[in-house]
Amino acid sequence: MSIRELGNGIVAFLFFFCLLAGLSSAEEGGKKIVIAVSPCSDVVLSFKKFHPLVTYLQAETGMEIKLVFPPDAAEFEAQIKNKDIDFAFQDPNVYVKFAPLYDQNTLLKALSLKGGVLQSGAVVTRKDSNIKTMKDLVGKSVMFGSKLSASKWVVAKMLFEENGIDIDKDLAMYANGGCCEDILFNVFLKAFDAGVVCDHFLDEHAKKQRELGVNAQELHVIATTRWVPTRVFSARKDVDGKIVSSFDRALLKLNSSNPEHAKILYSAEVGGFQQAKDEDYDEMRALIGEKKAR
């Protein structure tokens, strides 16, 4: 091999190396990370809630992030299977359903605003409605949360059943609403006799209540559901591990003691994140299975 031929080869190698590196970086730099959030039926409200978190993650990971809000389980499943979703922040009942599609080694669980790992739903009525117990809800209208919600739908239904109320038969009507403030607003305006909201909402989301003009003093909780795990942050299985790691690191870094982090967390209605294992949701699996069995 002559020197000329050697030189040509080196140049070609370097050319292809740069090309590959550029493609790689282009591939990585150009890709948007899609995070699906549920259950929230109101896209605008949900965007408002999670946009600070998204902004934080973009800054921490250097990735461009897009939020999506699948309206129902079918859409959620389709998006995951189509690899349209990279990460999902969902209720444990949804996680349990799509767990095989996620990387179960990188799970994170959201903490409640009080730092707990459990949540429940609360049945709320107007104080002047004369509805004091679950049994008073017979013949009344009730607004539940999204069907993707564990606390405001899955275990809420169980609560009604435990109190002898068949929601399909014993209620005047029921509906699946959106976010807790919407459900609360409908109850406040007497559009519905009762609503099921997150257990902390009545006490802790005064600003959101005020935005809608809700006077929480006129409402009260008549019952709460059983406890269920808080929400899960999971990555689709074939998402690049480095990306997943960077997201997990960023989320785990959030600290409610930090005022800036506290704003982000409060907006998303979480108290922080910690690592989780798939086994943490066996109870949920059992509950859903128990329900199916019934």
């Binding site: 959106g178 403030e181 919407d182 409908n186 406040f188 305006l189 559009a191 809608l212 003009g213």
Partner: protein
């Protein structure tokens, strides 16, 4: 500005201009401010309604879906969002039955509105608005309504309360701005007005001051205003005018000095015969002050009977007729008359317009006196002359008589004695001849004496009368001087007295003597004729003539007594001697006497 005219008049031009300009500025500012505020208000009201309508339209548009799905939280959020807009006081979403679906005041949700505004709003298919005021605080607002529709379906109605406060605030803000800007403008306007007024008035003041100086008599004053506008032109014109005035004044002063120095009186009359100007001499002469004469009728100083300045007379002067050296009388203040030698002419300006009459008169009182004295002296002289001539004639007569009587007789006696001697001693031849010679000589002397006696006092005049005496004189002179004399004479004796006859005779005699001495004439025509009521005398020769002016211009030492005596004799007769003569063309001496 509330100033009375008297107060206004006291202000200087600078202050007046400043106040006027400032007033104009204030008026403009106020009017502009009012108009701007009104237009701003209209514009803001329109804009307010538009914004309100736009907001209501947006609410109607975006609440279509939540109204359909009865999504109360979303409706609430729309209402909240709308309430966040400035000046929105309430938002009401009504269903087609008037029930409040959502309200900015949640307490109203579920109520049914049956008021008139709601009724109108619900029936209207287009947007509209009402003006109303909030009951709690009286705040004015627009109640803007617009339908919530989807296709042909009426889903409800949006009513939006839009406060008028926006307009009021903006108007108030605009008014404050306009006020501040107006104050600044007025302030700047005032300063500019003052500067402009000063720019205009300062040179005018300079001109005014300079004019005052000129009026006070300082004609050296000049303006140094260097501007290329009307004021600069005015200043230059002022300087020119002052220079011309100075020259005119110098000329006028010079003329005034001349007029003031005149000894003669000067009176200037207006075309209406009123006195417009008199000089110092006039006042001094007549004893008036100038103010007593100015603007008075000319008959203040002229007697009424003076026809010179009757209407027609004055008009003739105005027409251009000149009066030169006319003797008239002026009336003095104390009533006396002053004789004047008066001349007048019309006074015209440069364009030929009649300005009046200028009359110059000289006091001839002394002259009159002198004339009178001279006349008196003349009279006396003439009287003396007549007396002398009479005395001369008497003396001549006496001498003639003496010559005729005494000398003639003596010569006659002498002749007789010589004859006696001749007869006695005549036999001797020598003696007889001598005696004849002596007798002849005595005859000549006797003849000369007779002639001399005759010349001295022609007795023929007394004996035969003037007519014959003149005829005999002409005949004898003709023969004596060898001159052809032609006499044309009428009967004279009845015309004259004895002394007059002698005078006429002497005149003829003198004429013939002068002709014989000086004229070298060959022919003389003598005319003494009565012509109706006058007597005409003429002696005309064809002699060498003489220079009459020269003859009469000679001083008395060279002036011939003959002509002088003739003048005097003719004057004594009551006539005036007329002498006409030209060189080589003869001489004519004539006079005419009234009978």
């Amino acid at each position: 500005m509330g100033l009375c005219p008297q107060q206004w008049l006291k202000f200087s031009l600078r202050i007046k201009l400043t106040l006027l300009i400032e007033s104009l500025v204030v008026i403009i500012v106020v009017v502009t401010g009012i108009i701007t505020t009104m237009r701003e208000k209209e514009s803001l009201e329109s804009e307010l309604r538009k914004r309100g309508l736009a907001l209501a339209a947006d609410v109607a548009k975006f609440t279509t879906s939540p109204m359909l799905s009865n999504d109360l939280p979303t409706l609430r959020r729309f209402v909240n969002h709308s309430m966040e807009q400035d000046y929105v006081r309430y938002v009401i979403l009504l269903d087609p039955q008037g029930k409040v679906v959502m309200h900015s005041n949640l307490k109203e949700v579920g109520k049914i509105y049956r008021d008139s505004m709601t009724a109108v709003a619900m029936k209207s298919e287009k947007h509209g608005s009402f003006r109303a005021s909030l009951p709690e605080n009286g705040e004015h607002y627009y109640d803007i309504y617009t339908p919530i529709s989807l296709e042909d379906a009426r889903l409800g109605t949006v009513r939006l309360g839009y406060s008028y406060m926006a307009v009021e605030k903006e108007i108030a803000s605009a008014r404050r701005q306009i006020f501040v800007i107006g104050m600044i403008t007025i302030l700047i306007g005032g300063i500019s007005a003052y500067l402009l007024a000063a720019f205009i008035s300062l040179p005018i003041k300079k001109i005014t001051d300079a004019t005052g100086k000129v009026a006070a008599g300082d004609l050296i004053t000049r303006l140094t205003i260097r501007r290329n506008d009307e004021i600069g032109i005015l200043a230059n014109s002022f300087n020119e005018m002052t220079e011309n005035l100075r020259k005119t004044t110098i000329s006028r002063d010079y003329v005034d000095n001349i007029i003031g120095s005149m000894n003669d009186t000067l009176v200037v009359l207006e075309p209406d015969a009123r006195i417009s100007s008199v000089n110092k001499a006039t006042c001094e002469l007549l004893g008036y002050g100038e103010e007593e004469l100015i603007d008075r009728d000319m008959h203040k100083i002229l007697p009424m009977e003076e026809t010179l300045f009757s209407d027609s007379g004055f008009q003739r002067v105005l027409a251009g007729e000149k009066i030169i050296n006319l003797e008239i009388d002026y009336l003095a203040k104390e009533g006396t008359r002053v004789p004047m030698l008066f001349s007048a002419t019309v006074l015209k300006d440069k364009e030929g317009r009649i300005e009046g009459v200028v009359g110059i008169a000289r006091d001839i009182t002394e002259r009159r006196k002198a004339e009178e004295a001279l006349r008196q002296s003349e009279w006396e002289l003439r009287k003396l002359s007549a007396q002398l001539l009479t005395a001369q004639e008497e003396e001549r007569r006496r001498l003639s008589v003496e010559l005729h009587d005494e000398l003639g007789q003596s010569l006659m006696v002498l002749k007789l004695k010589v004859r006696a001697i001749q007869r006695a001693w005549g036999a001797e031849a020598g003696l007889k001849k001598e005696c004849d010679a002596v007798i002849n000589y005595i005859n000549e002397v006797t003849e000369n004496v007779r002639r001399l006696s005759r010349d001295l006092s022609p007795s023929i005049l007394e004996d035969l009368g003037l007519t014959i005496a003149v005829r005999r004189l002409v005949e004898s002179s003709g023969k004596l001087y060898n001159i052809d004399c032609v006499l044309d004479m009428t009967e004279l004796d009845a015309l004259f007295s004895r002394d007059q006859k002698i005078t006429v005779y002497r005149i003829v005699q003198e004429c013939l003597t002068n002709i014989a001495k000086h004229s070298l004439a060959s022919h003389v025509a003598i005319t003494l004729r009565r012509q109706e009521d006058s007597f005409f005398f003429e002696v005309k020769d064809d002699g060498q003539g003489f220079d009459v002016q020269d003859a009469f211009g000679r001083d008395h030492a060279h002036y011939g007594l003959g002509l002088s005596a003739m003048h005097e004799r003719v004057r004594m007769l009551g006539g005036a001697l007329k002498v006409e003569s030209r060189k080589e063309q003869g001489t004519s001496i004539s006079f005419t006497l009234p009978l």
